[in-house]
């Protein structure tokens, strides 16, 4: 076995040990440390935004800037694709 393979095995075992330990240290599902923001959104989203879908109220109201950035990314992607492929049509 060459030195490269030994180094690769040692490296991957170190990474695997880190992953296993960090997965053992994770919180159980559904019980995070800080629950202030979740409780606030769950209790107030329907009254404040009027939408039954709390995810949409977060995406379009509380985090509207994020959606604006996503829409800008899509616009830029379309503009770039048309810019690249327009020359080929003639």
């Amino acid at each position: 076995m060459s030195k490269r393979n030994i180094a690769a095995i040692v490296f991957f075992s170190i990474v695997a040990v880190f992953f296993i330990f960090s997965s053992l240290l994770m919180h159980p599902f559904g019980s995070p440390d800080q629950t202030d923001m979740d409780d606030d959104i769950i209790n107030n989203a329907q009254g404040e935004t009027g939408a039954n879908n709390a995810v949409t109220s977060v995406v379009f109201d509380y985090r509207g800037f994020d959606t604006l950035g996503e829409a800008t990314i899509l616009f830029t992607a379309v503009a770039g694709v048309i810019l690249v492929f327009r020359r080929l049509k003639k």
């Binding site: 209790n43 329907q46 009254g47 404040e48 935004t49 009027g50 939408a51 039954n52 879908n53 995810v55 949409t56 109220s57 995406v59 379009f60 109201d61 509207g64 800037f65 959606t67 604006l68 996503e70 829409a71 800008t72 899509l74 616009f75 992607a77 379309v78 694709v81 048309i82 492929f85 327009r86 080929l88 049509k89």
Partner: protein, 158 residues
């Protein structure tokens, strides 16, 4: 790329209205059910991409003007930003939900907790879903259409 066989064309044109209606339903009920503008727009755009694959890009490009597509996409983006600035004008801050609680469109506030859904709720969220949905439908379809058309023209020359 030329179109596929007659069987594929027939089945695609039968299925296409159902896909479109489902995607528009997901967009229109974005504030009530899972989904929204991005997801429903992706559904409708994949239906249009199915028509593009079945009928060929040259036929589709002959049916649609590219200028109209870019017009609609810009219209979606402008409507979205305009709604955000209307929040700045009528309310307090950028992206303020100024329609909620008013007697105008989409103004009803639902009771907190689970219950029957009312489509006349949500303030500006349905309007923003419509704007983003229009933008995603046309944007994704333009990407697929322009790439397919460019590759087909290149194949024809060789």
């Amino acid at each position: 790329m030329n179109g596929m066989s007659r069987i594929v064309k027939t089945i695609a044109s039968i299925i296409f209205p159902f896909i479109t209606i489902y995607g528009l339903y997901v967009i229109a009920h974005g504030h009530l059910t899972p989904g929204g503008g991005f997801q429903g727009g992706a559904v409708v755009a994949s239906g249009c991409a199915m028509i593009l694959v079945a009928y060929g890009s040259v036929w589709t490009m002959g049916k649609i003007k590219e200028k109209n597509l870019s017009l609609f996409e810009s219209l979606g983006a402008i409507c979205f930003i305009l709604l955000a600035f209307l929040g700045l004008g009528f309310g307090a801050v950028f992206f303020n939900n100024f329609l909620v609680g008013s007697d105008f469109l989409f103004g009803t506030i639902p009771a907190t907790g689970s219950g029957l859904a009312d489509i006349n709720t949500g303030g500006v969220l349905p309007l923003m879903n419509f704007a983003v949905g229009l933008k995603v439908i046309v944007g994704l379809f333009v990407i697929v259409l322009v790439m397919a058309y460019a590759s087909s023209v290149k194949e024809g020359k060789q």
